[in-house]
Amino acid sequence: MPEKASIDINHVARLARLHLSDEEKRVYTAQLARVLDYFALLDQIDVTGVEPAAHAAPVYNVWREDVPGATMKPSEVVMNAPLVKDGQIVMPRVVAEE
């Protein structure tokens, strides 16, 4: 684990697409530094030859039968979207107008 770990808050907030105020950045940086210090406990554990566990018990790939089942109507799929036009979700333009 990196010596004296600290979070580059601007970089991580950008990765998470999470807008933070300057005050939030200051507070979270300090709070998370304490949490990261606590993680250093794990450096003392010998994990040589130990398999990482993504799940508590082994999980294998699961295939379902390829048969048609109940589906939602398009209107239900978009019913919670904030901006809908003609059954489609509207987003700001991503390509500049000529």
Binding site: A16, R17, H19, L42, V47, H55, A57, N80
Partner: protein, 476 residues
């Protein structure tokens, strides 16, 4: 024989009316519910009475009034996860557990408060309201399923559904003096549970007695192909197990759970419970779970990592809230999230994104997963010698509002005895084992072998039957 506390003899409508007036009377003090649809509940109750009158009752849960944590989908109802970002979200479908409970005739009643996205141990992270502990109104009800626990304890429903990622059923159950059970990972489908940390989340029952929880578990457990981690196993008959004659078991006491940092009154109550079992012919055995101290750091790497991925979907596109200030796609994502999420959710998204980011992934995430393997093998080794483990559920009695809100780490330590059970995928439950001198409920935790719910429930019931705690009610 009806082992549960559920009253299935009276009319469902009259019971629903009684629950509604109980809620009207005590909700101003408790604040357990985010929403209650009285008309809908009464029509469910009427349907239950009609089935019964026609001799077509759907089973032991027909007419039982169950509260639902606001993280579980009920078609046509709000599902906010106690977050501003989902404030106006309406579920387009039923969760698997809700389908099962509807088919069993249960009356689904209200949306119960919680910590935002199930992140927290006090309900103080709800974006909407505080929930008060029915036993001490100036104290927290626990979390994240604090609304569920408080509603059950104060008689605002017969029982409730909660969800548990690191203790979110068991810790509030302990704080509010009720029974709460987290099943073996994969026993109950997560379909329709808003995801927090997918490798740890489980839905489970919270009720006034061991049998109440068993009856609900019986109904909601079982394979569901819509959850790829759902186990293909035969669900045992838990009610039949509870009706069997008592048989002594070997109970393990993990020494790491009785050391420093535990409130002396809680330790004394749990030790007294161990003595009780010894008196009933059970064998007590001290065991060691040497990696216990790693559970919190492992959890607070893995759970936020999974959460940062799961919560990426709340981006202002599909889920109700988009920032009015956003002028381009990038701002739709970042401003909507910045405005919609509360402080603890933001902290965990940051922590998880950091742990998964380039350069830190191996040092944090992979290392945590390796230590997770060690935590599980500690338990499996202990279970070679014992049938169940007995521990405290929480290190402290329920604390006062605001005591830990400025110190995330102090709040995280609240789950020190429950978290490792999720990391290892085991079943665990909390049941009342007494009160502190100040009158605050104390819970003890039983931990079972994988899919060992029946034995865990039997062991719990032996204690419950010999004590009065299950019938004690807060004065409200």
């Amino acid at each position: 024989m009806n082992l549960t506390t559920f009253d299935t003899a009276s009319s469902s409508v009259s019971r629903m009316e009684a629950i509604i007036s109980r809620c009207n009377a005590v909700e101003p003090k408790i604040g357990a519910f985010l929403a209650r649809d009285e008309k809908d509940a009464l029509s469910q109750a009427k349907a239950s009475d009609e089935r019964r009158a026609a001799g077509r009752a759907l089973g032991p849960l027909d007419g039982v009034i169950l509260g639902v944590k606001d993280v579980i989908a009920v078609k046509g109802q709000r599902l906010s996860c106690a977050s501003k970002i989902l404030e106006n979200y309406v579920s387009p479908y039923d969760a698997h557990v809700v389908e099962k409970l509807k088919a069993a005739g249960a009356i689904l009643w209200g949306r119960l408060n919680m910590d935002e996205f199930a992140m927290g141990s006090s309900c103080e992270n709800s974006a909407f309201q505080k929930t008060h502990n029915p036993w001490a109104l100036d104290r927290i009800p626990g979390g994240s399923s604090g609304g569920s626990a408080a509603a059950v304890a104060s008689g605002e429903c017969d029982a409730a559904l909660g969800s548990d990622t690191g203790g979110s059923i068991r810790q509030p159950a302990a704080c509010c003096g009720i029974v709460g059970l987290k099943p073996t990972y994969g026993l109950v489908s997560r379909y329709g549970l808003a995801a927090f940390a997918s490798s740890l989340d489980q839905i489970g029952p919270m009720g006034r007695s061991v049998a109440d929880c068993a009856a609900i578990l019986q109904t909601i457990a079982g394979h569901d192909e819509r959850d790829s981690t759902s186990l293909k196993v035969d669900v045992p008959d838990y009610m039949a197990a509870l009706a069997e004659p008592e048989k002594p078991v070997t109970i393990g006491l993990p020494k790491e759970y009785f050391g420093e940092g535990i409130d002396p009154e809680i330790r004394a109550k749990v030790e007294a419970a161990a003595k009780f079992y010894e008196g009933r012919g059970c064998k007590l055995k001290e065991v060691s779970l040497p990696h216990s101290s790693c559970a919190i750091p492992v959890y607070y790497i893995i759970a936020p990592a999974e959460a940062s991925s799961n919560l990426a979907r709340y981006d202002g596109v599909r889920y109700t809230r988009r920032s009015a200030a956003a002028t381009n796609t990038d701002e739709v994502f970042s401003l909507s999230r910045g405005e919609g999420f509360g402080a603890e959710v933001k902290r965990r998204i940051l922590l998880g994104s950091y742990a998964l980011s380039s350069g830190y992934y191996d040092a944090y995430y992979v290392r945590a997963q390796k230590v997770r393997s060690l935590i599980r093998s500690d338990f499996m080794k202990a279970f070679e010698e014992v049938d169940v483990l007995l521990t405290p559920t929480t290190p402290q009695p329920p604390f006062r509002f605001g005591e830990k809100t400025d110190d995330p780490l102090a709040m995280y330590l609240e789950d020190i005895f429950t978290i490792s059970v999720n990391l290892a995928g085991l079943p665990g439950m909390s049941l009342p084992c007494g009160f502190t001198a100040a009158g605050l409920p104390v819970g003890m935790q039983l931990i079972g072998k994988p899919l060992g719910e029946a034995q865990m429930l039997q062991t719990a019931q032996v204690f419950e039957k010999a004590h009065e705690y299950a019938s004690m009610r807060p004065a409200l």
